[in-house]
């Protein structure tokens, strides 16, 4: 009994601020919706938020289809969130998930199309591995540059995102364009598609993503490699002094981060999209940042955060059909969630919460690494 209560208290300690941040974000977004309803044909509508949130919820969880859609949308976010979160642990801000995702998706699409006629047991794993390696390679570049030359990963990964879009467009056009289509794209993936476990497209990528949650958690908490990653994130000088190699660890972390993002791209390609064409976007890239923050870089937290964001995506179509609220409200809600997490002081004030763990403290390294150190006299 008291065991249970203790467990509940522990969960509350960790999850209360994120949960309250979500609640507060929805409340504030409701004001936005009400105020902006003035501009719609229906005029001021105080109940519009209820309608919008209602259909959002119904779309995401109201039916079997909805739940499957939520999970399908969550799977790449889980992996993307893990990618960003792993970087955070090492004091790295990987904004390059978008590019790594695209490279992974592209590699999976190309290999998948090549092996379209091979048996699925061969073709799907091979395409997955191709995607993972593609993403890893694309994560390696900024990691190596950061470790060796100090070029900040925030800038290099953004540049690589832009470059990836352009270079992949070229690659589709000039290297791997499939014949028989009216526009440039890769071929059909055929047997390389991930097996569907349940009707309505609940594909194998979903359990795979969950598996990675536990794999990353194990890596971070139980292994010396995870300890090195965290130590380099917390205090790179102490890491060097302890015999770790920050250059190696930084490169490795970005590579692993890219690997996860690449797998996200691969499962999205092999489980949902089916072909690569120029113009494909990777909204997963930026959503992953919010997921990692909301999940406070903890793999389990990321799992739940990804499901929440997946639900947004799954519920959005119904919200757009049934109400006139633009889909961008979801971006607004996401931004508000991040705002309230970053400034958890606001949440604490509003809900009078005390003495729970600050959300961003373990991420405090992020801004610090921008400048690469602490100021004179600034360390207490």
């Amino acid at each position: 009994m008291s065991r249970l209560r203790q467990a509940a208290r522990r969960i509350w300690r960790v999850a209360s601020i994120p949960l309250l941040a979500i609640v507060l974000a929805f409340i504030v977004a409701a004001f936005v919706i009400v105020i902006s309803s003035v501009f719609t044909s229906t005029g001021l509508d105080v109940f519009l938020p209820l309608g919008a949130y209602g259909s959002l919820l119904a779309g995401a969880f109201g039916s079997g289809t909805g739940i499957v859609n939520t999970l399908v949308a969550a799977a790449p976010l889980i992996l993307g969130g893990l990618a960003v979160g792993l970087g955070f642990k090492a004091g790295l801000f990987n904004i390059g998930v978008a590019g790594q995702f695209l490279v992974g998706a592209f590699a999976a699409a190309v290999v998948g199309a090549r092996l379209a006629d091979s048996p699925t047991v061969l073709a799907a794993p091979a395409a997955m591995v191709a995607g993972a390696l593609g993403g890893a390679a694309f994560g390696f570049i900024p990691g190596f540059l950061k470790a060796r030359t100090g070029a900040h990963e925030v800038v290099t990964t953004i540049m690589l995102n832009n470059a990836a879009v352009l270079l992949l467009t070229w690659a589709v056009n000039d290297l791997v364009r499939a014949p028989g289509f009216s526009f440039p794209r890769t071929g059909e993936i055929g047997n390389s598609a991930l097996p569907v476990l349940l009707p309505r497209n609940l594909h194998l990528g979903i359990p795979l993503a969950v598996l990675f949650v536990f794999a990353v958690r194990w890596l971070l908490d139980r292994t010396t490699i995870g300890f090195e990653i965290r130590t380099v994130g917390q205090n790179p000088n102490a890491a060097r002094y302890a015999g770790m190699r920050p250059v190696f660890v930084t490169t490795l972390t970005m590579t692993l981060s890219g690997l996860l993002a690449g797998i996200a791209g691969a499962i999205q390609m092999l489980g949902v999209i089916g072909f690569y064409a120029p113009g494909i976007t990777a909204s997963v890239g930026f959503d992953s940042i919010a997921v990692a923050l909301l999940g406070r870089s903890d793999p389990i937290g990321i799992l739940f955060a990804a499901i929440l964001f997946g639900a947004f995506r799954a519920g959005a179509p119904l919200m757009q059909i049934e109400t006139s609220v633009p889909i961008e409200i979801i971006d607004i809600i996401q931004a508000l969630v991040i705002l309230f997490l970053a400034a958890d002081l606001i949440v604490r004030r509003v809900f009078r919460v005390r003495s729970t763990k600050p959300v961003i403290s373990e991420l405090a390294t992020v801004a610090r690494t921008w400048a690469g150190g602490t100021p004179p006299g600034g360390a207490t």
């Binding site: 139980r222 292994t223 010396t224 060097r240 015999g243």
Partner: protein, 512 residues
């Protein structure tokens, strides 16, 4: 001068930090015009807090401050400056990339219309003040190009430029050579002669006895006594500070040096700015021997220890330990060979402040058995890590509620003990100590010194680097003097007299 009315009175000053620490508990302090008033106390006694309150950096919970008999409230440093209070902080408040003149005038700039700086006028004023105080300083040079002693002078200039009548110096001599300390004392005496009042904080009892007119001792946030130098001595003061008798001199005992353990020949290395910091260092340390390196900070000591432990790549020469060439070995490999290192900056290198004590106590051996094992040796063994922590905490008297508290919540002295406990392994071959007791109080110093002797007697080779000349002389079986990246002198313990070594430190001898 004792019967003049006090310029500064602090009455019943109380401060409890949000963390619960009662740093100041109804402290009373009186300072008279033209007086050098020393504040003494252990680490964490509350000296800096009291001075920060005076300077408006910390808001007291209770108490009253009077200046010239008038009650005043000091909200922020601007208030303090306006009331003639100047402070030289424990950690320098200088901006390394700015020029001396910019640092001095900052906050009270001399400007032409439109807010345009007049640095020429500033330089002129600074030169004038410097001459008055007997300094020699170039207002246009950057702070980062100055020696620690010169930086100290800039700090004093800053205060005088702001017309400070009450000057607070928080551990100003902790990083100075005896030579530099003497020069600073000259300046303080001049200022006193002109009627300024000076509050002087130090852990060095000899200095306090030499310079102070009056001494106030604080223990655990309370004033426990006030003395005149004439009526007291070092042992008396130490006992008052710590609350028990302390032995100020370690009994080094006899050393029994064995085979040569560390052999360094022709070692060269560059500093962070790419200049040659080590110009061919030759030294050797034998098992069961403590070799001390004396020298003014900035003569390559930092680069030497970093090169030894593997944090800095040598550009020439060799490092051998117990016959193995480790010149270009990794940090990890050196540790495997029995090297250990207590760094000067425990926050920068020694600890991960956010980690719990148990992780910190295994930090430098995290990948070795028994702390890691399993397949490929990468699985961490949490039981071994916890047991190690409990054992070391007992052995080294580390005061913390449990092994899971973050290292950052410990006091400076206890943090240092964490580093020492971890590095003083039983299978040590070479122990490199860089400023092992910097900023620690006499009680903690006593403890650490005993541990060092213990390791030496256990057969370890010990290399001690300290800016604290007394520490080097007290502990070392052999003293080397380092000057501009070279070893310029070697003294057996019995021939190492303070004056001789100090002179060599300052001049580098004939070779300089």
């Amino acid at each position: 001068m004792g019967d003049q009315p006090p310029v500064l009175e602090m009455r019943g000053i109380t401060k409890r930090f949000p963390t619960g620490t009662l740093a100041n508990d109804a402290i009373d302090l009186e300072v008279r015009p033209g007086e050098i008033h020393a504040l003494l106390g252990e680490n964490g006694a509350g000296k800096s807090t009291l001075m920060n309150i005076l300077y408006g950096l910390v808001t007291p919970d209770a108490g009253e401050i009077r200046i010239d008999g008038q009650p005043v409230t000091i909200h922020d440093p601007a208030d303090a400056i306006a009331r003639g209070i100047g402070m030289v902080h424990q950690h320098f408040m200088l901006i390394p990339v700015l020029a001396v003149a910019e640092n001095v005038v900052l906050g009270q700039e001399i400007v032409r219309p439109g807010g345009i700086l007049d640095l020429g006028e500033a330089a002129a004023r600074i030169n004038l003040l410097a001459k008055k105080l007997g300094f020699d300083i170039d207002p246009s040079s950057k702070i980062e190009e100055l020696s620690v002693g010169q930086q100290q002078r800039v700090e004093i200039l800053k205060a005088i430029y702001r017309n400070a009548r009450i000057l607070v110096l928080d551990e100003p001599t902790a990083v100075l050579t005896p030579q530099e300390t003497r020069e600073i004392f000259e300046v303080l005496r001049r200022l006193r002669a002109e009627g300024a009042s000076i509050i002087f904080i130090s852990h060095k009892l000899d200095e306090v006895l030499e310079i102070a007119d009056r001494i106030t001792v604080i223990r655990r946030g309370k004033v426990v006594g006030s003395r005149r130098p004439a009526e007291t001595n070092a042992n008396d003061l130490a006992e008052l500070m710590v609350g028990r008798a302390v032995s100020l001199r370690v009994d080094r005992g006899r050393s029994h040096p064995g085979a040569s353990m560390l052999e360094v020949t022709g070692l060269r290395a560059k500093n962070d700015r790419g200049q040659d910091a080590l110009q061919g260092i030759d030294l050797s340390v034998r098992a069961g021997e403590i070799v001390g390196i004396a020298g003014v900070a900035g003569n390559g000591q930092e680069e030497l220890v970093e090169a030894l432990i593997g944090l800095r790549k040598p550009t020439g020469g060799t490092i051998r330990l117990g016959g193995h060439d480790l010149t270009s070995a990794s940090v990890d490999r050196r540790r495997d060979r029995g090297m250990a290192f207590v760094p000067a900056d425990r926050h920068k290198y020694g600890l991960v402040l956010t980690y719990p004590l148990d992780d910190n106590l295994a930090l430098t051996r995290y990948g070795d058995p028994p702390f890691a094992g399993g397949f490929a040796g990468i699985i961490r063994n949490f039981r071994a890590i916890a047991e190690n922590a409990i054992r070391l905490m007992k052995e080294f008297d580390i005061r913390a509620p449990d092994p899971k508290v973050p290292a950052g919540t410990l006091s400076g002295g206890n943090q240092q003990k964490v580093v020492v406990a971890r590095e003083f392994r039983h299978d040590l071959k070479l122990l490199v100590l860089d400023q092992p007791t910097r900023g620690l109080d006499v009680g903690s110093i006593e403890f650490i010194h005993k541990q060092v002797i213990g390791r030496r007697d256990g057969g370890a080779a010990v290399l001690l680097i300290s800016a604290e000349l007394d520490e080097v002389l007290d502990l070392s079986d052999r003293v080397l003097v380092m000057f501009r990246g070279r070893i310029v002198g070697t003294f057996p313990a019995e021939e190492a007299q303070r004056e001789k070594v100090g002179l060599l430190m300052a001049t580098g001898g004939a070779r300089a």
